[in-house]
Amino acid sequence: MDIGIIDYWANRGDSILHRASAPSKVVAAALIVGGVVMTANLFVLLAIYLAVAAVIISARLPALRIAAIAAYPAIFALIFAVSRWDGSLLSPAIIVLRSLAAALTMLMLITTTPYPQVFATFHRFVPRAVGDGLFLTYRSLFIILDLLGDIWIALRLRGGVTRGRYVKNVVNVSYGLGLLALRAFRLSQRLYDVMRLRGYAGRLVARRRARKLSACDLYPLGLGASLAALSAATTLWPAILIPYVGYAPLAALAALLGAAACTHLTAPRVGRG
């Protein structure tokens, strides 16, 4: 999982979704995740998953790579699925697809919205230590990930990690992590000095965008509302809608193929591939 590349995609994209405001995308993600956990219909879940994938493709992001990142929760979901085995493939499929759809939705949010903007959306609603901790963690993340990369390269170049020497590898990697921890603590001391110097008064201020709804905001809000409505309607009125809900994933698949065709025919995609 490369947090750095996710941040790059969020900051460098220029699609309608990238231009939409962070609060509208957070609300859209909340609506879609709410729709995912509300429904137990496989077709609805499939439709939501494919619709979110179509939106990611239309934002000119590497959808396959993002889908691969979003596949990680399936490992944990499989454990729950096996524990709930009732002789049918349907229950495990629903459990796994729920986790996949929710994860893909969060990735849609975070690959089109820089972390600080997401944090700024709910910064006012959390305690100071939590809000400021989120910003400082984001700030430290890339420094420490760079340090981790350097230490890993150094370990390999100096023979600290070699094939066949498993015990020695574990010991050397552990000491490498210890060195990383030391450098992280020194970083924390420098951060403290900088914060004192710059007059930190107990609250980091996040840059806020204009509060007016723009046309770009209607796109994620419309997506979130329609997917949540689909889920709610099929949950509340199954007898009426279930005969027709099988068309939903077909429609989502058509949207996905259309998005893929459009992006393929137009400008090149953002990202390192």
Partner: protein, 253 residues
Amino acid sequence: MSHIHIPDGVLPLWIILIGWVITGGLLLVASRRLVGEELTRRLPLLAVMATLMVGAQSVVLPPIGYHLNLTALSGIILGPALGIIAAFIVNLILAMVGHGGITVVGLNTLVFGAEMALGYYLFRGLRGALRGRLGVGLAAGAATLLSLLAGTLLMIAVVAASAVSPGWQMPHGPETLVLPNPFGEPTVIGRPEEADRGVSAQVQVGRFAILVLFLGLIGWPLEAIVTGLVARYLGSVWPDLLEPEGVQARRSR
């Protein structure tokens, strides 16, 4: 893997809400301890420890998805109050990149926080009995092993509680799936009788516990060894980090 991140859509709404309420309360209590100069002083350390945990958990070994946690080590360094804040930050960031559920951040935070708090107290307790540089590593390793076991047992307890009352709509049994056919009769798959009765496929807690404990028994010793070695390294280079000066002075008398 040394512990499981609960994904979205597997637990009922009522238990998810309880998780959020308890986590919110603990965050408020912990935050009240961090004001003014104390906040400025401790916040950077909290941020870098949260970063180390995020970094460790973002390095995944295929195919089982195993990764290090560093929860016990972070708990030893941060303590329980800062630990719960760091646990929340880590779970929120990981949920945003699809590593664990976003609706269950509250519950995952409680599991992490329990591991960190136990890691802290167990290390302090064991350190009293185990002296010397080797003692630091052994105490940290043993604290890690026990705290990860406790965290997993807590998660099993949460899942067991959810099985008692699966709740309103989440999760409920698979509804009848109908493959539409615009030219003729639709094909029905699924189990209509169960859909009509609203039966939910409940978690078999025993089966779940066996699976999770089996996977944990592979990961916990490895995490305990790594944490012990890291603690031994830190103990020899920067002892104050793991043990305040007063504790060291008392131990050396």
